[in-house]
Amino acid sequence: MRGILRTALLLCSWVPLQRRLLAIGLVLTAVGHLGQSKFTLSTLALISGLALAVLPSLIVGGTMFRIISAPRTMHLAPHARLQMLLGVLLGLMIMAAFFTANMELLRLENAAAWPAGMRLSRIFAATMAVETVLLFGMFFISRYALAVWFFILIAQISAPLLARLPIGPAVASRLGVVNVIVLLTAGVWAVFAAWYLRARRIAPPMWADASAASSRRPATRERSIHSSRKAAIAIHLLGLPSIGRLVWRGIFVFVVSLIVMLTTILRPGAMMPNTGASFLFVAFCLIAFLPIVIAAGVAHRSRLLWIRSGCTRKELFQTCERLIWSCFATIGMPMLLLCLVAWVFLPHQATDWPYLLAMTLASALCSLYLGLMNVAGWRLLDVTAAVLIVLLGLGVIVGPLFANAPLGSASIVIPVMGSLGALSLRAIAQQRWRRIDWLICKPPRLSSQALRPVI
């Protein structure tokens, strides 16, 4: 029982950033409730608060679940995996109950903001379903990074096909939507539990596994290494045998995406009105937020070169910056090309391509420098910048993409402000790199605390 409760607690409070976001989310939620009768943006504050309180725990929770399941000592503790599984389930149910309770409060405070016919049981069931998908998704993505792309693509392909299945509406009308959702969620849990409880070994996340490293396929041919100083620096910073390996990953994602897109284009019946917008949204998000992952990784590996390369801190910052830019161009440019194809051939309502392009690039710049400046842990400034970039980035991309609202002068002002924000973050990053402390900024490893069994 103690293991179940401890796992449920860990799910909501694993890392400091998550705890801070939870605190911010709770404050925003409270503000949203208190301001229902006073100001119009209170519902937005409430929804943002709930998202900040719940979403980080689901995203981090999947990785956390893998981390605590990985130690082999877990095999020795009686019913350890069962306790952790039940703990995660309990955590998700608490979060779903929290979300549902807030929705009920909103209904009592402001009936106008409440969608007609929305029942609490349906909200709870839907929240549990979404939480389950996110948590298990992150559980697998933390080990198999490219899986995220496949998850999205499979969803993209299967959604219109599933909608056309004659069995769906029939079952839903007979059993009721809530029951169908509950049955599907329970089915997913049952399948996962059957695998999880019997698996011989649960591998740790990719970043924490020294034996797996960043690439499972070693470069065994001696000639495949370019032993120039520039290549040596790049390989040390990226942790990959060659930049070519990164290019291949970019090409791989590009080709798979292109194939999926072509199959969608060639089957017009499989398209929904917003297929193009969905595809563009995923691609824009990838372009906008991928740089933070690359930048943070490179910044943390810069420690390896302090003695070996002879570079000063300033030179190392510039080297890292150049490398991240070239990586971003390597992966981002083919993605942009894909976006252009999707824009032309897939159905969507958006009209302002230059704005969306500019905003995506501005968000990418911001996230690139956020990654570079994050060398001293997640401070308040980093958390605030991250929240702003994600919320604003998503907001300014989603709005014009799906709603096609006229932007007017905002289509120029917002990207310009985003670019100015990126420049500010760059200045902060430069300032921090002058005093970078590589005792703190190290390549990520699982700490002994993280590996400590929870049972």
Binding site: A210, S211, A212, E222, A231, H236, I307, G310, R435
Partner: protein, 292 residues
């Protein structure tokens, strides 16, 4: 002419309100093999990494070859070889490839030295690094630090993952390399026997404070155990200065004393009307007493 290769004055380090090092002043002259010893979490790694410029000190300053550690120029870094506590290798490539890459970062590289050592240490260089054992990875990490023939070799717990035989051979060879070209070696460990075997200077760190620095032999001579036997019961306080630990049981007492110069034994015998035996301690016993 630089007297000290490594020097630090009133060095202190605090991370998030936790004091890790306080008021550390050290000097290392060329040709010495300095062993840094302390319990886990004593501050050994932090000290070494501040000396190498990885981390800015909260107070005080440190220098390598006369240059401020935090802003080391490339010319000084070329004289340093560093083996971190947690090896920092590029996993998906082979040992040979990593050696090639590391060589390309240095102006001077001695391939015959790395080739000889890799054979002696039996490192399978053709295998991908991720498939090497912890000991092999640690040896490879040391090999990378030696290839450019540094004047100062800093090793942070270099033999922690090796078995006793490999550890002995490995440390002996590092010592030989250092002695052959009058290199300076600074290494941390919590394995006392390693330190006793190779170091001629010793720094003992306890809770972030340097409790001893100097010759290993001088340390051994200055910390002794007094075995006191009397006919009458002994007083609870023996009146001996610099006592690290003391146990009195009736007419018998044992006390471990630091900074012992031999002279007080006669006084003690007369004052307590007892027989006092002075026993020299092993380094391991001294370490335990200093931490008791």
């Amino acid at each position: 002419m630089i007297d000290s290769i490594v020097s630090a004055r009133q060095l202190g380090k605090t991370i998030k309100d936790r004091t890790i090092l306080r008021d550390i002043s050290v000097d290392v002259t060329p040709g010495n093999v300095v062993g840094v010893i302390g319990k886990n979490g004593a501050g050994k790694t932090t000290l070494l990494e501040i000396l190498l410029g990885f981390s800015p000190p909260t107070s005080g300053n440190s220098a390598l070859f006369g240059h401020d550690s935090f802003t080391l120029p490339a010319s000084v870094k070329a004289k340093i070889g560093f083996v971190p506590q947690q090896e920092e290798l590029v996993n998906p490539i082979t040992g040979t490839q990593l050696l090639l890459l590391t060589a390309s970062l240095h102006r001077h590289w001695n391939p015959s030295l790395t080739s000889t050592l890799s054979e002696a240490w039996e490192i399978p260089l053709t295998r991908p690094i991720q498939t090497l054992s912890a000991g092999e990875r640690q040896k490879l990490s040391t090999l990378l630090a030696l290839g450019h023939e540094p004047e100062l070799l800093v090793l942070d717990e270099p033999a922690a993952s090796l078995d006793p035989i490999a550890r002995r051979q490995f440390l002996q060879q590092i010592l030989e390399i250092a002695a052959a070209q009058t290199r300076t070696v600074l290494f941390s460990t919590h394995i006392v026997s390693d330190l006793e075997r190779v170091a001629n200077q010793i720094w003992i760190i306890r809770h972030g404070t340097l409790v001893w620095q100097g010759d290993l032999d001088a340390l051994k001579e200055s910390v002794v155990r007094l075995n006191i036997h009397a006919r009458q019961p002994l007083p609870a306080s023996l009146g001996v200065s610099n006592v690290l630990s003391c146990r009195v049981e009736g007419p018998h007492a044992t006390a471990v004393v630091s900074r012992w110069d031999g002279l007080p034994a006669r006084d003690l015998e007369q004052r307590l009307n007892a027989n006092v035996e002075v026993e020299n301690l092993s380094l391991e016993d001294i370490f335990v007493e200093l931490h008791s």
